[in-house]
């Protein structure tokens, strides 16, 4: 061992600690955990804790501002025997299925149109997003006036053109009320569908269309055999989001009808809110809100199985 080699050894010892820590943090396994931990903690605090607290609440007889008593599944049993609960289930399914289908069809159509070249294309795309950008409460208040029995612009049109007199009672008739809510929800959610599907459409290579055209495929066949299969993953994602948001919708119903007339438009979220906040029954309110979970999970699973991209 010479003095030279000793010096090298000392130098190596001296510099080792700092790089080793840095190297340790740069290891993929460690670095990824370091990056993932803050959002996971954030999610645990703001989503996980309320979620599990909600489950706990649903198992308690828990009047507001009073200590709770564990009652097991009694709240769910009570929901099961509550006729309004079953009406809420039916309403939520009708609302979600109708609004999602309308948004899917309308959004796809809108995206296909927006994918064409035309004048003021960018401006039109930006304007299309307006219903999605305007806060729901504000836009719903505009709808409140549109559907108002006395001031409805639609009824004014119907009456003045002699099509109806008086016009329909948009929010007073149980069927019209639900239909109105579905239309307003579709109006609000359509841009989300359209813009996401448009992004999906733009990733499809034009060469595929050229090849299909050369093979003699008609416009309909190109859509059926090129566009739709390649768009399927995007449709799946956007439908999943839409189903979740529509199923758990609150603001729109709360502003327009508050669940009336006679519960015809009550959804899970509005009914849970009324029972928990208005009635001071936090446990029962939590059980109604949680009852959303199994059907929602089933829908998502069924969708993911049905719309799973075919493996090649």
């Amino acid at each position: 061992m010479s003095a030279h080699s000793q010096a090298i050894g000392t130098a190596a010892v001296r510099v080792r600690p700092a790089p080793s820590f840095r190297r340790w943090t740069e290891r993929e396994g460690v670095f990824s955990w370091l990056m993932v931990t803050p959002p996971v903690l954030f999610l645990c605090a703001l989503v996980g804790y309320p979620f599990f607290y909600g489950i706990w609440l649903s198992l308690e007889n828990r009047p507001v501002a009073k200590p709770g008593v564990f009652v097991g599944l009694a709240n769910f049993v009570a929901d099961w025997h509550d006729p309004v609960f079953w009406q809420v289930v039916q309403n939520t399914f009708v609302y979600t299925i109708a609004a999602t289908l309308l948004k899917m069809l309308g959004g796809l159509g809108l995206a296909l149109v927006m994918n064409q070249d035309f004048k003021f294309k960018n401006l039109t795309r930006a304007l299309m997003l307006l219903p999605f950008i305007v806060p729901t409460v504000l836009s719903t208040i505009s709808w409140m006036w549109i559907l108002d029995p006395a001031f409805s612009v639609i009824n004014w049109f119907l009456i003045n053109t002699g099509l109806a007199n008086p016009g329909p009672s948009w929010l007073g008739n149980r069927y019209w009320a639900m239909a109105s809510l579905i239309v307003v929800n579709t109006w609000r959610g359509l841009p989300f569908y359209a813009i996401t599907l448009l992004a999906g459409l733009q990733t499809i290579s034009p060469e595929l269309y050229e090849a299909a055209t050369i093979d003699g495929a008609s416009a309909l066949s190109r859509f059926r055999y090129v566009t739709l299969p390649l768009l399927k993953p995007v449709i799946f994602i956007v439908t999943m989001f839409s189903v979740i948001f529509t199923f758990a919708d609150f603001q729109l119903v709360y502003v327009l009808t508050r669940g009336g007339p006679a519960n015809a438009t009550h959804l899970f979220a509005t009914y849970a809110f009324d029972v928990a906040m208005g009635g001071g029954q936090l446990g029962m309110g939590a059980s109604i809100a949680l009852a959303m979970l199994p059907p929602l999970a089933l829908i998502i699973i069924a969708m993911s199985v049905y719309m799973r991209p075919a493996k090649t």
């Binding site: 009570a78 108002d148 149980r174 009320a177 009808t257 508050r258 669940g259």
Partner: protein
């Protein structure tokens, strides 16, 4: 300022002296100081002058006299109950709050017993109306100090009623039906809320139910008796009243709808608070001049109204509950409360007998029926003792929907069966 002097009771003086003595031994001068500020939480009043009056002169005068600043936290309409729930559950936030309806019964565990100051306030102002006790006394303890009743009465177009030969407002439901039938034919239908609003629906449907001798529950608070011949008669009347005097929209109305319809001359009669006349006189004077107000009509078993109390309560988490009590005593002193009532005309009907003939009632004599309605006003769920199940019944719109479904075409038997099933479930858990 006797009330402020009261803030330092003999016991406090002893405590302060002892602490000051102990403090001086250690070179410091600690003592139980009055809080520098307190917060009162309110929902935006529909009369802006009412909220402004709290800040000036009330809060400023109190600060000048005691050095305690009283903040006024204002919430948007409809959000107070959610906020009170948060404050009560977390045990932090404002010291005092406004409560509506039967909330003292919902939040009683988190509200300070104010029986002592209620007695003091009552003595000073001629005693409390009986309905004050129904509004806030929970298990024998006053859980809030009632401030004013926002009565729900009949608002009608005197000119249109006259045109069909009805000079005085009908005294019975049957006579009102008769008048309404004529008015609808004359192009002036009635509009009574049958949808899911906060109060204008309960405001006439509970009194209608009671006036037929029907009720949800017996006074024992357990026995559900909605399935009765009296209820059936009330429902049959309501269906006819709806069909002959109203139009389909009312089934989907919320609380703003009848105000809008009345002020746009779509309807000739509704059930509402004084707000319609107040706004009409301010913004639509021509309508204001021909608007009349009357107590609810009588039914087979008498005349009834809904009790809609606005009260002030102190949260148990308030660090200095005594200071908060002193403030409420000062606030309810006729010198202060009288001015506050006056500024709101008579929108908030006092629960203190001293104000039975006060100036607030003479500014607009058409408001007098609101004063007279207090004796026949009750909370939803009456005559059972008020509690949590009644809140659940109201939140689930059991009574409102029973009537609304009948008006929309369901049979009386079916709607009573639905309400009966719901109430049995609710009162079993109560």
């Amino acid at each position: 300022m006797a009330n402020i002097i009261r803030a330092a009771s003999r016991r406090d003086v002893l405590k302060i002296t002892a602490l000051a003595g102990a403090g001086s031994m250690f070179g410091a001068a600690p003592g139980r100081a009055a809080p520098k500020s307190m917060t009162m939480m309110h929902e935006n009043s529909f009369i802006p002058a009412y909220d402004a009056y709290f800040k000036t002169p009330l809060a400023t005068a109190y600060e000048k006299a005691t050095g305690i600043k009283v903040n006024y936290e204002l919430l948007s309409v409809g959000s107070l109950q959610t906020r009170i729930t948060t404050v009560a559950e977390t045990g932090s936030g404002p010291d005092m709050t406004l409560t509506f309806f039967n909330w003292p019964f919902l939040f009683d565990d988190k509200l300070v017993d104010v029986s002592d100051i209620a007695e003091e306030i009552g003595k000073k102002a001629g005693g409390w109306h009986d309905s004050a006790k129904e509004a806030v006394v929970v298990n024998g303890k006053w859980k809030a100090i009632p401030f004013g009743n926002v009565g729900q009465l009949m608002n009608y177009r005197m000119d249109w009623f006259s045109e069909v030969g009805v000079k005085e407002f009908p005294d019975t439901w049957d006579a009102l039906l008769e008048a309404g039938t004529k008015l609808k034919k004359a192009g002036h239908p009635f509009g009574f809320e049958l949808g899911h609003g906060f109060g204008d629906n309960h405001g006439w449907l509970y009194p209608l139910l009671w006036s037929y001798g029907a009720r949800e529950v017996e006074p024992d608070g357990k026995t559900v008796v909605i399935d009765s011949a009296e209820t059936a008669r009330a429902i049959d009347f309501c269906r006819k009243f709806f069909q002959d005097t109203m139009f389909e929209d009312v089934l989907g109305w919320t609380d703003v709808s009848n105000n809008k319809a009345y002020l746009s001359e779509q309807i000739s009669c509704t059930n509402n608070a004084e707000s319609i006349l107040y706004v009409a006189m301010k913004d639509f004077p021509d309508i204001g001049k021909v608007t009349g107000q009357a107590q609810n009509p009588k039914g087979e078993k008498g005349r009834f109204h809904i009790l809609a109390p606005w009260s002030h309560a102190i949260f148990t988490h308030t660090p200095d509950q005594k200071a908060a009590k002193d403030f409420l005593v000062w606030l309810m002193d006729p010198a202060q409360a009288g001015g506050w009532y006056d500024v709101a005309v008579s929108y908030y009907g006092p629960y203190l007998h001293m104000f039975d003939d006060a100036s607030l009632w003479h500014k607009e004599p058409r408001n007098l029926p609101y004063r007279d309605s207090l004796a026949t006003s009750h909370l939803p769920g009456w005559p059972a003792p008020i509690g949590r199940p009644q809140s659940e019944s109201v939140a689930k719109y059991v009574v409102v929907d029973m009537f609304a479904k009948a008006c929309a075409g369901k049979s009386t038997k079916e709607v009573i069966a639905d309400a009966n099933a719901q109430l049995k479930q609710i009162f079993k858990s109560g």
